[in-house]
């Protein structure tokens, strides 16, 4: 019922064990596993639909519609809820938890180990460069977020966190421009115009980006605490190395 648990489940479950994934798993802009997801029937997160699939176990996020989760529990179905991963340490924990919930703890443990090993190999020494995440409506990641941790791991200072934001929040374009980040990470626009995304093509931001390096990351890699997160981390590490090359 949740984009992130869907992906972990697809990676950890035995064939035939997972009977449905959420429709979000099929969205190429937020899901890193669209191809895999196509093999499963899709649910839209409604309790009625999920109940009729007769699952033994439902994996959901803690922010998944409460009413649906309560209803399913009331109907006697076991629901495991995972909070969103706010720290890199959470990611490996989640892998273990899902593995255990699916009855495949050894597989979860292996994935977590691999993730931790890969993570340990990445790091950056020396002075940090500035970077900002910038999303529609001027949304950015502040301190205490997974993005923030990835940025500091790969040798960046997060402009959002330095602006005093905790968690996600809005950073006015003016303050982003004044901070002059060396790298700006933005999302890929969805099809169909929206005014929220218009800010990403604002001339001021465009000029800023012309002066700054750009990191080309897939949003889908950032969203969830899955092994794909390593892609995002590696991209940022490369971007940091690229900056070094320029200097």
């Amino acid at each position: 019922m949740n984009l992130c648990t869907d992906q972990l489940a697809m990676l950890l479950a035995d064939p035939g064990q997972l009977i449905s994934v959420s429709n979000l798993a099929l969205d190429p802009l937020s899901s890193a596993m669209v191809e895999e997801a196509q093999a499963y029937p899709v649910n839209r997160g409604g309790a009625e639909q999920i109940f009729l699939m007769h699952p033994d176990l439902v994996l959901a996020g803690t922010y998944t519609a409460r009413a649906s989760v309560d209803l399913l529990r009331g109907l006697g179905i076991e629901v495991v809820q995972l909070p969103p991963a706010d720290r890199l340490e959470d990611v490996a924990d989640h892998m273990r938890q899902i593995g255990a919930a699916l009855g495949r703890p050894e597989r979860g443990e292996a994935m977590a180990r691999e993730f931790e090993t890969s993570l340990a190999s990445i790091g950056h020494d020396g002075p940090a460069a500035t970077a900002a995440m910038y999303y529609p409506n001027g949304y950015t990641a502040g301190s205490g977020t997974l993005s923030d941790q990835i940025l500091s791991l790969t040798g960046f200072r997060n402009v959002g966190a330095e602006a005093g934001l905790t968690g996600g929040g809005i950073l006015p374009l003016e303050r982003l421009v004044m901070a002059e980040p060396q790298v700006v990470v933005t999302s890929t626009p969805y099809p169909g115009a929206s005014r929220s995304e218009e800010i990403l093509s604002h001339p001021a931001l465009r000029q800023l980006r012309d002066g700054a390096a750009q990191a080309h990351v897939r949003d889908a890699d950032w969203v969830c605490g899955t092994p794909h997160l390593l892609n995002a981390i590696r991209t940022m590490a490369d971007a940091r190395a690229g900056l070094e090359g320029q200097q």
């Binding site: 529609p136 001027g138 006015p172 374009l173 969805y190 099809p191 115009a193």
Partner: protein
């Protein structure tokens, strides 16, 4: 110098002061001298970027949007001889928003630059025509307001429908923007897009002054004094549609400006519509600039909508007017 001239002069000074304040107030704390230098001479550098690409368009749009809303309100009131007429209340703004949203969501807006303001203009024109038909001068206050409610509700519902059906997940969040309006993070591109339409609209509306004056005495009297009502109606429809359409296309629907300003200013500049038009434009500019400054001061890091503030001032005002009219009609 009459009271009217003094009022116009003071209003102009007020608008200038507010325009400057709008340039100098923002989430990024910039020094006064630094900002002015950057605005006028700055080449490159983050301060110049902020001043020229973010604050200047915002201040300009505040000025322009306010001016056209005040002016359209005064012109509509003059034409309908009804103090409750206002682009927001009678559904012109929400229909313009529908036009804009349709052109954005169908991709028409991306096909050529003028498609967005033109679609908003078409939406606005349709609504003005509907209002004039439904609540012509003989319609009275009640039918005007009822027609306005119906048109606003329909346009609002269709706007929500279009945005809900959009493949873009952010579109739904924009319903509030289109209904309440905001000047946050607009660029010079928006200024250039809207300016020509606003200028044409204002030109057409300002040309209605003499006709509206004559209409003070009713339609028959006006026509017998040589006023071509068909031409006047055309000026009002095209002028309002063009000005309000362009304004909504770049800033969403900001309500009540066209209602409040003519009323506040009538005692100062006199009831003559031709005298009221320029004053209402200045007053509208002052009101929207003030609201936009307030938005930034009250909640600098949240995108508080402009229309929230104008409605907070305007809606009680509207009730007050209704109350007074109730006394008159009883």
């Amino acid at each position: 110098m009459t009271l009217r001239h003094i009022a116009l002069l003071l209003l102009s000074l007020l608008v200038m002061a507010l325009f400057l304040a709008s340039l100098l107030i923002g989430p990024a704390a910039l020094g006064l001298k630094q900002s002015v230098m950057a605005l006028l001479a700055g080449e490159g550098g983050p301060v110049a970027l902020v001043m020229q690409e973010i604050r200047l368009p915002r201040a300009l749009l505040g000025l322009l949007v306010g001016a056209v809303l005040g002016l359209s309100g005064a012109a509509m009131q003059g034409f309908l001889r009804n103090p409750l007429a206002e682009p927001g209340l009678v559904g012109v703004s929400s229909s313009a928003a529908l036009g804009a949203v349709l052109s954005l969501q169908t991709g028409l807006a991306a096909s050529f630059a003028l498609a967005l303001p033109l679609s908003a203009l078409a939406g606005a024109a349709l609504a003005v025509l509907l209002v004039l038909v439904m609540a012509g001068p003989r319609g009275g206050a009640l039918s005007l307001i009822l027609a306005g409610i119906a048109i606003s509700a329909l346009a609002g519902a269709l706007t929500s429908l279009v945005l809900n059906l959009s493949p873009n997940p952010f579109a739904v969040m924009e319903i509030v923007y289109w209904m309440m309006g905001s000047l946050a993070d607009r660029s010079m591109t928006h200024v250039w897009l809207a300016l020509p339409f606003m200028a044409i609209g204002c030109g057409l509306l300002l040309a209605t002054g003499r006709g509206l004056d004559a209409l003070t005495l009713g339609e028959d009297a006006a026509r017998s004094m040589g006023v071509d009502l068909a031409r006047l109606r055309l000026l009002i429809v095209l002028g309002t549609a063009s000005a309000v359409g362009a304004s909504v296309a770049v800033a969403g629907a900001v309500g009540f400006v066209g209602l409040v300003m003519p009323h506040l200013l009538r005692p100062l500049v006199g009831g003559r519509p031709s005298h009221l038009l320029p004053a209402a434009a200045l007053g509208g500019a002052a009101m929207v600039l003030t609201a936009d400054i307030a938005v930034r001061l009250i909640a600098p890091d949240q995108d508080l909508k402009l229309g929230v503030l104008t409605a907070l001032v305007g809606a009680p005002f509207f009730l007050h007017l209704l109350w007074r009219m109730r006394g008159l009609e009883a």
